[in-house]
């Protein structure tokens, strides 16, 4: 198997699931190296494990291919995937087993919500993975950019593939960050999977349960299990997030992975007790965001700024210095890798995104274009088939729980959302595309990208615990 023209019988089910299992195992080992995550029960670590595993394998493969010029073959990639496992084993052998926190028993309503969430999550995940294994990639961006890039990279066994670097090759968006294609190639090479598109769709689909698990875990630590379950249920029941081919987990757009990486990085970096390990892990996630989509770099910068604001507002700048510097350092390294990789790729076949720069152009564009864009955004959010009741229940939750948002834990989430919104608004104001068309084709995906901080903030608003009204420090739920 593994080359064009070979006989392949049926979808590559075993190969795809084995690759996903290896990525998750690698990530689970990484969670063992992060003190805040190490304390969690395995189920709550699984979401982080998926994100860290993808970020590690995709990011390290990207780096060794571009910087060290090592071929993207199993002999290189498998050791990369197993490195965290070895590190976790060494750590376990050399240190005492951590004491787990005493479990707080579930209250009846919490138990019901969590059971519903778990059953619903497993069922929808099964549907997404099964559909991914059954039907080849058919979404616009997947065919145009991400899967095509993966095939070019796999064919050349390097991220510096001649098709990307050749000035005459007709490759759309050749300078788009390629973490997801690299991850796909790494996973395929490790298990010697065929070129069948169906291999890759489950890798994208698994970002959906990872999103929910990370959301629940982070929200639970900030707002308790009940609020976290309600917020996660609200996210889980947004049809677009799961079933959209054009931005959701059913497709191969990179928006959901980006949402998970930058949102996860932000949540981990601003978790109570975050130190060097959490800083490095959140840097890995933010670096993955930088390498996943063009929006990743500004969003990662927003996340770092939000974490800094949180540290300053909480008077804990000195205590957060290590984690902030570690996260910023890893993110900067990823940005340098991206710049270096792009420098070898001639700019071509990439439509101009921005008409003009400068404050005057921004002000003029905002006045002329944002009202029209806003109408298109509202129209998109009102689409019941795409979003169900999501944009009814999220504002409702914020209104009902507004009093609970005036606390420190809300600061980084609110700052991150404000920063992301400002970035999107600037893009809408300055773009050369017609405003309505631009908003219509991107706003749903921007909502996905803001998903983790948005729903985590919703969880804070839903927190029923009495201390939520005057709490200044987070507590585990």
């Amino acid at each position: 198997m593994g080359v064009y023209g070979d006989e392949v019988s049926g979808a590559p089910v075993a190969a795809s699931l084995a690759a996903a299992g290896l990525v998750a195992a690698s990530g689970l080992a990484l969670t063992d190296l992060v003190p805040v995550l190490r304390e969690r029960v395995v189920l709550r670590r699984l979401g982080w494990a998926w994100l860290l595993g993808c970020a590690w394998l995709g990011g390290s493969a990207y780096a060794v291919s571009h910087v060290l010029h090592l071929p993207l073959r199993r002999g290189v990639l498998l050791p990369l995937a197993l490195l965290p496992v070895a590190a976790a084993l060494v750590r376990r052998l050399s240190s005492a087993t951590p004491e787990r926190r005493e479990r707080v028993p579930l209250k009846p309503f919490e138990g019901i919500l969590l059971a519903l969430l778990l059953v619903f999550g497993i069922f929808v995940t099964a549907g997404l993975v099964a559909n991914g294994l059954a039907i080849p990639v058919s979404d616009w961006d997947g065919k145009m950019t991400w899967v095509a890039q993966a095939r070019f990279i796999r064919g050349a066994r390097t991220v510096d593939a001649p098709a990307l670097r050749g000035a005459t090759a007709w490759v759309i968006h050749p300078r788009y960050p390629a973490l997801m294609p690299v991850l796909q190639v790494a996973a395929q090479e490790i298990v010697d999977a065929p070129w069948d598109d169906r291999f890759v769709r489950p890798l994208y689909a698994l970002f959906w349960p990872a999103f929910l698990l990370v959301l629940f875990d982070a929200a639970s630590a900030r707002a308790g299990r009940l609020a976290a379950a309600a917020a996660a249920l609200a996210a889980a029941c947004a049809p677009y997030l799961a079933f959209s081919l054009h931005g959701g987990a059913a497709g191969t757009y990179s928006d959901l992975p980006l949402a998970c990486f930058w949102g996860g990085g932000l949540l981990l970096l601003t978790s109570e007790g975050a130190g060097l390990g959490e800083g490095l892990a959140s840097g890995l996630l933010l670096g993955a965001a930088v390498l996943t989509k063009s929006e990743g770099l500004p969003l990662a910068a927003v996340a770092l700024a939000a974490a800094l604001a949180w540290a300053v507002a909480g008077g804990r700048l000195a205590g957060s210095r290590n984690s902030l510097l570690a996260a910023a350092g890893v993110t900067a390294a990823a940005a340098l890798l991206l710049v270096s990789w792009r420098s070898g790729i001639p700019q071509r076949y990439d439509e101009g995104q921005v008409a003009a720069f400068g404050l005057a152009a921004l002000a003029k564009g905002a006045a002329a274009r944002l009202p029209e864009a806003a109408r298109a955004c509202l129209h998109a959010m009102a689409d019941r088939r795409e979003w169900g009741f999501t944009w009814l229940l999220v504002p409702l939750g914020f209104v009902l729980g507004a009093r609970r948002l005036g606390r420190l834990a809300a600061v980084p989430l609110a700052v991150a959302l404000a920063g992301a919104l400002a970035f999107y608004a600037a893009a809408y104001a300055l773009s050369v595309w017609p405003a309505e068309e631009l908003a219509r084709t991107t706003w749903d995906r921007f909502l996905i990208q803001m998903g983790l901080p948005l729903f985590a903030l919703l969880a804070l608003a839903l927190d029923p615990r009495p201390q939520s009204l005057f709490q200044t420090k987070e507590r585990a739920g």
Partner: protein
């Protein structure tokens, strides 16, 4: 009790409202689960055929067989509204596409000319179908070899007229003659961007031109024509152009324009 109720109200309201939307999600996931065994059991070729149709799968298989992995091919998109060129580029990767852009009336040029012209090109039609073509036939361009500015040399393409519909045998004909200088030295004709062999172009008398244009002189060789038997041109839109070439290489370009062939 009431304060506890108020505290739990936001989370409860959001959870209940979320659950109202859940059945639709469950139905979708259930449908996907039920459909998946059939899809998972197919090989890649069958899956592609069921997704994009047999003609696409067959043409793609032909392209894969003719273009070695990693080598270049021309990709000519006739400008359909769909993402079809993206499918071709993705499905043929790691073969490297080089874009051919339409010039006029069926001729193409490389937007970024490669060092070596790929032997094979894939043409993506407006309806999304694909076909293979020899790149050099696509590159045959109008007006090749004609240099210098155009001149007002009397003459025209009489048939087929612009946007006319033609059935059966297609005759491409016209006339060319400078006043007092005899018939044009050469006539060159392009059909769908491909130049018609000069040996196929016949000259014939045009007494109607001689009567209509004063002082034009003897028009016994002013007319020109070439013909395509019924069925030689596929039904649909075609494109014709002609260069009227006088002494010394002076020339006038007529067309290109489109006409339609029906059965």
């Amino acid at each position: 009790m009431s304060s506890r109720f108020v505290a739990f109200l936001p989370a409860s309201a959001v959870a209940v409202l979320a659950l109202v939307a859940a059945p639709a999600q469950v139905r979708t996931a259930w449908d996907w689960l039920q459909e998946s065994p059939h899809g998972i059991g197919r090989d890649e070729e069958t899956a592609r055929r069921e997704l994009r149709g047999a003609p696409y799968a067959v043409a793609l298989a032909q392209a894969m067989a003719r273009i070695p992995a990693g080598s270049a091919y021309g990709l000519a998109d006739e400008g359909g509204p769909g993402p079809d060129k993206n499918w071709v580029r993705c499905d043929l990767a790691p073969r490297v596409p080089v874009q051919l852009r339409p010039e006029s009336c069926g001729s193409w040029f490389f937007e970024r000319p490669p060092k070596d012209v790929p032997e094979v090109s894939v043409v993506v039609a407006r309806d999304g179908s694909i076909r293979l073509a020899e790149t050099r036939t696509l590159l045959t361009s109008l007006w090749s070899g004609l240099t210098g500015p155009e001149e007002e040399i009397p003459g025209w393409i009489d048939a087929p007229a612009e946007d006319r519909t033609v059935a059966g045998r297609v005759e491409v004909s016209g006339w060319c003659q400078e006043k007092g200088k005899g018939p044009c030295a050469a006539i060159r004709v392009w059909l769908d961007g491909v130049e018609v062999d000069a040996a196929r172009i016949e000259r014939f008398p045009r007494p109607d031109v001689q009567a209509a244009v004063p002082d034009i002189g003897d028009c016994s060789r002013a007319g020109w024509r070439t013909a395509f038997e019924a069925g030689a041109l596929a039904p649909g839109r075609h494109c014709v152009a002609a260069a009227l070439v006088a002494e010394g290489g002076r020339h006038r370009r007529v067309g290109p324009w489109a006409f339609t062939v029906t059965k």
